[in-house]
Amino acid sequence: MAITNIKNLKEFSTVNERFEGAHLLCPGCAHSMIVRELMNATDDNLVIATNTGCLEVSTAVYPYTSWDTSWIHIGFENAATAVAGAEAMYKARKRKGTLKDPDAPVKFVAFGGDGSTYDIGFQWLSGAVERGHDFTYICLDNENYANTGGQRSSATPTGAHTSTAQAGRVSYGKKQKKKDLVAIMAAHGAPYVAQLSPNKWKSMAKGFQKALETEGPCFINTVSACTTEWKFDPKDTIHITDLATDSLMFPIYEIINGTELNILYRPKNIIPVEEYLAAQGRYKHLFKPENRHIIEQIQKEVDEKWEYLQRREEARV
């Protein structure tokens, strides 16, 4: 069972890595930070499937692989299905007594980007969660299709400039709201659902350990700052993520059994979303006088969401 000691960073750093370097993700990409934090949090045998996206195409460039675990390269939408199939097979073989080592702990994990989780693979994910397979699905949410040139996805927030929701004279970028996938997954009745962030490595590792220990389908949404499409300097990945969690654009919380909501990080000083927006090139146009009202609208929505989360935490519903 997940025995990695995560009490402090020094203890955490004694683990033996199972995600290798020389993958082809951009310098400063948060995807690999998240994958490392998660995989280092456990020493169980892992069976991993990855949806098409930056992570998949960059960590398995034929003839190379960066994974030291069982890992399957699969289509855009079906990591959840593939891993659910592997889990069903594992259970059946365990029952029939045909496993080589039936006592070894095996955990089933699926990774997907926001494009494959919020949009293309949503039906597959929903189905696997509804069937109640014992697996953990991790969404690396960088709010666009970064692998194919930064098109908008349903995870792209209001006002962001993307290659298919461009900002200019007529438009201020994406006009629609971001889909609240964490709430949707909690509404499936999944036993453990969380939104976590790589800058808070402890809550990230703990949340993943909790998801692995929980029997049944678990879902974790993680914030993955994208240096290429959010347009910031690669060295600032953690700084941008700090701004995201401290401005409450990405609140960190978990929902247990669809009802018990716990807020895992309360910023000491809540900063205005304007600071978070100003640090990224994709929001540059919002600072023109004619678009100022969008910033106010974003701030209002963030405040309302935070109020809602706090109330739900208190009410336990």
Partner: protein, 151 residues
């Protein structure tokens, strides 16, 4: 510092380049790439990277050093082993053993500079220098401790 950990024989022998890849028609369907040469009795979370039998398919045996134009240089004298750089390195390029930071894996580092940004010491124990700069020269240029600015 243990040199054996920082420079294994296996690592850094090949550059990822187009000439190494096979054409579309030659790629087998349903191909399996073994990460290790020998069959494992248990998963590798109990085996240190320098003791693993990596196969040629493992990206550990490849290098992305040519991506870099600037590189991080590590100053052991100032480091407090907080491991911030280790946890946030996106390229598994900070080598830490037994709670100690040993150095940078220049075969896998892409020079993003995240490690320098998250370093909490004063002056920083990691700084970015030009790729061509010699490590000794870089260490000789290390800045002095910065005094707190009066606000």
């Amino acid at each position: 510092m243990s040199r054996g950990v920082l420079a294994t024989e296996k690592r850094g022998v090949r550059e990822l380049g187009a000439e190494e890849f096979v054409g579309w028609d030659e790629v087998q369907q349903g191909v399996v790439l073994p990460s290790f040469n020998s069959e494992l009795k248990e998963n590798v979370s109990h085996i240190r990277p320098e003791e693993r039998d990596y196969s040629d398919f493992n990206s550990y045996t490849a290098t992305v050093a040519s991506w870099r134009v600037i590189k991080p240089v590590y100053n052991r004298d100032i480091c407090i082993d907080c491991q911030n750089c280790w946890v946030w390195c996106p390229d598994t390029s900070i080598i830490s053993r037994d709670k100690q930071m040993l150095g940078i894996d220049y075969d896998h580092c892409k020079g993003c500079g995240v490690c320098v940004e998250v370093c909490p010491t004063n002056p920083k124990s990691l700084l970015m220098f030009a790729e061509a700069e010699e490590i000794d020269e870089a260490l000789a240029k290390w800045p002095e401790k910065k005094k707190k600015e009066n606000k």
